[in-house]
Symmetry: C2
Subunit: 145 residues, 2 copies
């Protein structure tokens, strides 16, 4: 597994160990990590800090040219909110751990020129499968169902 | 002006008085305010707390049926990130103070069945015009330009 996806997985696993939703993300520019994060619904009672949003927030305020050279790694296919954030900031590449348990707005992102790479990594799939099986109500809340 | 848009405007004005970006938002369900907020880029150094996102965050974790009966008021046309959040949570109606100084993802929202009402209120337009004129770099940063 790519080392940045390993970092995203480590964030997801940290989230799981906190009783949270195991989705992690890392924002990378020029080979350096600008910020990493994990879903904060349980830990912070947050409705907006999905893994990707938490990574963006932890990366702090960045100029447009930095976002424009960045890659976002996320363990799970990005939902509408996180996809919208990717479009807002013009992040050109997103590496997705898996889209088997949930497929977000991949078509929208591709239609706007964002390059996607879906790994469908067995460890990412297994982590989300177990989480959704054991926590269906929490999962539905997180994706607005 | 509608009283909920007045609340959104009051949030925007509070943001301006803090040196922040003057965009405010209110989430309303069954005639009650669930949460209100304002852009927090300057005040909190936030890349994700646009006015709409701050209102959603301040409303806390809500079940899908609450979002599904809610209306989001915002002083400015919602960007891609905020529009994505509206889609994620299935918020069916958005009241927009103005879209003359910035038009966000209104077409995307309408294509997904979200009902929009654009007021183009002179006070909202004037507030943003003055802000953009006086703070072009901060404004561009906020919309990823």
């Amino acid at each position: 597994m790519d080392r940045f996806m390993e970092l995203a997985m480590a964030e997801a696993e940290k989230g799981a160990s906190e009783g949270g939703i195991p989705i992690g993300s890392v924002l990378v520019c020029d080979g350096l990590v600008l910020g990493s994060g994990r879903n904060q619904r349980v830990q912070s009672g947050s409705a907006i800090r999905h893994g990707e949003m938490d990574a963006l927030e932890n990366a702090g305020r960045q100029p447009a040219e930095v976002y424009g050279r960045s890659t976002l790694y996320t363990t799970l296919s990005p939902c509408a909110m996180c996809s919208g954030a990717i479009l807002l900031y013009g992040i050109p590449r997103v590496i997705i751990g898996e889209n088997r348990t949930f497929q977000g707005e991949e078509h929208l992102l591709e239609s706007r020129g964002v390059e996607l790479k879906v790994l469908n990594d067995p460890a990412c799939i297994d982590m989300m499968k177990r989480f959704i099986r054991d926590n269906p109500e929490l999962w539905n809340e997180d994706i607005g169902v």
